[in-house]
């Protein structure tokens, strides 16, 4: 019993000495100050593509997230089918496409974030590399700080759509 408590105490101490949780493939480290590979599939108002620009709620969120990581975004267009295959093959870091929590793609070898925005029955999420938990935690913490601005972003891009 004593040994067990000592074991628990030691483990919790150990866990606090290092950044925790960590990525098996160091995605967060690799992306910071480098390149963030984001696959996108058009789905207004989340992802809007015009002849000369890429806009939308999730595009705006990604741009700010990349800025915080001092990373450049490389945008990779595709159908959801292609993008999720690439994400499962670990050729992308993330996929945005106005995905909801009930997306059938979650059965693939990918991860999804917690719900970052909820409207009615729809719970919006982003797709991310499977098992890169430090990267996932960084993204989820960022999305949480934006929680209160997302509604106005959605309205902004819905109006944009109408024009």
């Amino acid at each position: 019993m004593k040994n067990y408590i000592v074991f628990l105490a030691l483990s919790f101490l150990l866990l606090h000495c290092h950044p925790y949780p960590r990525d098996p493939e160091k995605t967060l480290e690799n992306v910071s100050h480098h390149e963030l590979l984001v696959g996108y599939s058009v789905n207004p108002p989340w992802v809007i593509e015009t002849s000369d620009s890429l806009q939308g709620v999730e595009v705006a969120l990604m741009q700010e997230f990349a800025q915080r990581l001092h990373a450049e975004i490389r945008w990779i267009p595709g159908t959801e089918n292609e993008l999720f295959k690439d994400l499962a093959d670990r050729k992308l870091h993330m996929v945005i496409a106005g995905l909801t929590r009930d997306t059938p793609w979650k059965k693939e070898k990918i991860g999804i974030t917690r719900t970052y925005y909820k409207t009615g029955k729809e719970e919006y999420v982003m797709a991310i590399l499977q098992g890169e938990n430090a990267f996932l935690v960084a993204l989820e913490k960022f999305l949480l700080t934006k929680e209160h601005q997302i509604k106005s972003l959605v309205e902004k891009y819905e109006n944009h759509q109408a024009i």
């Binding site: 925790y20 917690r114 098992g131 935690v137």
Partner: protein, 323 residues
């Protein structure tokens, strides 16, 4: 139809029996609470899923003990002349089969997760506006799943031996499996946090192999019970010393030339016969009655015992098949 007498535990053991029932109700409440907490915090971890299923499974012996207490106290009748004692053996067979099957399924699941290189994805949960990594919560729940289980198991073990109650014994062992599972799971989840995706599936595989093993051992014992094997002690599964004691008591009677006994377990109690080659047949009826009484004095577990007079005993097979 000769009907056996109604009896399950002697008066002296009744407080122990009541205590066992109380402990089992506490166990069930505690196990349900840990199962709920585990379900809430499970997210993408194979280990947590395995620990959760293990926790749900460990409800079975406790629940089946409580259900059987409702049944085995019923009075024997024309239709069930041997009484309802054996309902515990049926419950024991069911719970060990559940252990065995689920252990196997979980082991396959864990191995598949390893082969497919599924990386457990564990994100944050927001509590009072603060994002917290779910892994921390999992570890907290798992700590909650260990400490009370250790004590519950320690209380149940001696009760099970006193009452000769196999479901209770299986349950005490399950509590041990519970906390060992939780410790393995803590290591698995802590490993995920260190960036070792495989600790999760390996911890899950170890736990499920342990469940499978427990299931196998108990399933074997339960099947042997149903096959009317000789009474065994509840812990080390040796032939119960009562078998030899009964034989000695019979051979100690001065009218007995040779004696042999055959006992079987029906739940907590033993049924059986003594086969006696008498020295002489004077006062045979009263001798038989004295013999039966002397055997009943040995132990409360001997519930229904008869003496048969034979002119010779068959050769005993010397090899004990321990199985």
């Amino acid at each position: 139809m000769k009907i056996t007498k109604q009896f399950e535990f002697p008066k002296a053991l009744l407080p122990k029996y009541k205590k066992a029932k109380r402990i089992e109700i506490i166990s069930i409440a505690y196990l349900i609470s840990t199962a709920l907490l585990m379900y809430i915090t499970m997210s993408g971890s194979q280990t947590m899923k395995t620990a959760w299923v293990e926790d749900m499974l460990s409800l079975i012996p406790a629940i089946s003990f409580l259900i059987t207490t409702k049944i085995f106290n019923k009075a024997p009748n024309e239709q069930f002349p041997f009484g309802y004692h054996r309902v515990s053996s049926i419950a024991y067979l069911c719970s060990s089969l559940a252990l065995f099957t689920v252990g196997g399924l979980l082991l396959i699941d864990a191995i598949l997760a390893l082969v497919r290189q599924e990386h457990p994805t564990i994100g944050t949960v927001v509590i009072f506006g603060q994002p917290i990594w779910m892994g921390y919560l999992m570890m907290l729940v798992l700590v909650y799943a260990t400490i009370p289980a250790i004590f519950l198991g320690k209380v149940k073990m001696p009760l099970a031996e006193k009452l000769h109650e196999k479901n209770l014994y299986a349950d005490a062992k399950m509590n041990k499996a519970d906390w060992m599972t939780a410790v393995a799971s803590i290591i698995g989840v802590a490993g995920i946090g260190l960036g070792w995706w495989w600790t999760d599936a390996i911890a899950a595989a170890i736990i499920s192999a342990d469940i499978l093993h427990d299931g196998y051992v108990n399933l074997r014992e339960a099947t042997y019970d149903m096959l009317d094997q000789a009474p065994k002690t509840i812990d080390d599964q040796d032939i119960h010393p009562i078998v030899d004691q009964v034989k000695q008591v019979l051979e100690g009677q001065d009218w007995v030339k040779k004696a042999e006994v055959r006992l079987r377990e029906d739940g907590h109690v033993f049924f059986g016969e003594g086969f006696i080659v008498p020295q002489h047949t004077d006062h045979l009826l009263s001798h038989i009655n004295q013999g039966v009484e002397a055997v009943y004095q040995l132990d409360w577990k001997i519930h229904d015992f008869h003496i048969t007079i034979v002119d010779q005993l068959p050769e005993q097979p010397k090899e004990k098949n321990k199985g």
